[in-house]
Amino acid sequence: MSTAIRVRGLVKTYLTVRAVDGIDLDVDEGEVFALLGPNGAGKTTSVEILEGYRRRDAGEVQVLGQDPQSAGRHWRSRIGIVLQTSNENHQLTVAELVHHVAGYYPAPRDPDAVIESVGLTAKRTARMSTLSGGQRRRLDVALGIVGGPRLLFLDEPTTGFDPQARRSFWDLIETLRADGTTILLTTHYLDEAEHLADRVAVVSAGRLLAVDTPERLGGPQAQVPRVRWLEPDGTTREEHTPTPTAVVARLGERFAGEIPGLEVLRPSLEEVYLSMIATADGDRATSGRQHQPHATVEVAR
């Protein structure tokens, strides 16, 4: 399997702030990869460097085999970009825009099928200025995929979606994945990352804290399940254990039958993520915010 994105030692500094501080990253072709991290962690800066919008200060970047800083139209015809925000307010219709942008590409998808796939067929002839926020976002996605990209960048694609719109967006991403499209996604919704991503990376203060599948993120300790039950006196008890089955069996003997209020909980991606960010923030606070020695980021592969 070949590599769609390869990043080594990426650094971007704004005045004195290191927005991106030594990131290494590999995304395989056909993979759906999610970048997670708090606001200001450097996600968008990193993605915009990969998209060719921003220049890096140090490091190596290869996207579809080329350096985005010098790549030309052929390269651009093979990537698709859905930016974080746009306030565009044209008097042009959905169909006009999607058909027009399709004309930029050597091998575009069928524009009407793309409009259908983002659920805007009923809004084909509606002007962009009349669309709701969620419809506008779906148009953004349509414009990002109409060129038939090998690699699709999605920067917080579902912000402002209602749950139903988010579900149908997820289905769309699944379709694209099935077509073999590589997808790099940033999101604040951990359930979205959990649902869509083959692997997730957590970024904090310009560094990569971890890269792994959603199920394994944070290592075995972070994934230790909890067994929760009710004692006869009504108090809730909880036990962290790598062997929940044994605990449940033991409790089953003790209660001689049904265990009141039994739950076996695996930490959600959100819990793992939050504890990683909290730990990272704590480490930075203790080591003094200034230039701490450059921690080597292990990219789990």
């Binding site: 919008y53 651009r76 004309g103």
Partner: protein, 295 residues
């Protein structure tokens, strides 16, 4: 669900890095031509422009309204034998119309597109920059022609403007119009980088045009202005564009009444061409796809 269209037969080759080396226009899956995309951009720009009703109506109506105000206020007062101020002003308004449709509309329009993310989105596609500018040129050409036709109709019907009756004069009109539009277009694109946001664009751009109209002999006859103001106005294209339009639309005898006693068509050509080159260089040096500080 998302099916590739017929032309997608080439998409297989696009998956390899070597596809980047395929020269444009050679293999299947070649990139669309810049000229074709420029035409497509022009059509899109025009469609958007004519649908933005309020903006379009005001753009076209403004010089006409000015024509009515000045025409009614100064009426048939002659500024030279056989030439009324209204005729003089009408020729100046045609020049102003070119500046409004090129410089002002592009400086404001592109500043807005930069601020609202339109430019950034385009930058992320394989559309070449040249196609974007061709689209703007198409927009300016069509809208300036419409603007000029409206002013000519109103000027001849109501304000005693005479349409030229020789091929020579129409030829002169054509090159002055084209050179003026060109200078206005490139300077408008360059000036679009000055406003810091879409919100400030109107306030940053409009005064430039209004002040130029005052010092370029549009609102006042040029020889009524103090010498230093004429000299200052002569630095900028509008004075020359207006004088060129007078040479087309006013009686030939008015030439003696011009400052310097001549139409000075040579200087007109030189100044307009000079500003076109300066504007083009400014565009190449300063044009940005992203908002200020967004890099």
């Amino acid at each position: 669900m998302i099916t590739p269209s017929a032309s997608a037969s080439a998409s297989g080759s696009a998956s390899t890095a070597s596809a980047a080396d395929v020269p444009a226009g050679a293999a299947p899956g070649a990139l669309p031509s810049t000229l074709g995309l420029g035409m497509s951009r022009s059509m899109l720009e025009l469609r958007a422009f004519f649908r933005e009703r309020d903006s379009m109506v005001f753009t076209f109506a403004f010089p006409v309204i000015m024509l009515f105000i000045f025409g009614s206020a100064f009426g048939s007062g002659e500024i030279a034998p056989g030439v009324t101020f209204t005729q003089y002003f009408a020729a100046g308004m045609i020049a102003s119309g070119v500046v409004l449709s090129s410089f002002q509309s592009l400086a404001i329009g592109i500043a807005i597109e930069r601020d609202d993310g339109t430019l950034k989105r385009l930058r992320g596609t394989p559309m070449p920059a040249a196609a974007y500018f061709l689209g703007k040129i198409g927009l300016v050409l069509i809208s300036s022609v419409v603007q000029t036709v409206i002013l000519l109709v109103v000027g001849t019907a109501l304000f005693g403007l005479d349409l030229p009756d020789t091929v020579d004069l129409w030829t002169r009109f054509a090159w002055i119009f084209l050179l003026g539009s060109t200078a206005g277009t490139v300077l408008g694109i360059a000036y679009s980088s000055v406003p810091r946001s879409a919100r400030s664009a109107g306030a940053v751009v409009s005064p430039v045009v209004i002040v130029l109209q005052f010092i370029s002999g549009i609102f006042f006859v040029l020889d009524q202005l103090p010498g230093w103001m004429v000299n200052l106005g002569s630095v900028f294209p509008l004075r020359w564009l207006a004088q060129g339009m007078r040479s087309v639309f006013l009686p030939a005898e008015f030439e003696q009444a011009e400052v310097g006693g001549s139409w000075m068509l040579g200087q007109t050509a030189a100044v307009l061409a000079g500003w076109s080159v300066i504007g083009l260089l400014l565009c190449l040096w300063t044009f940005r796809w992203a908002r200020r500080g967004d890099r």
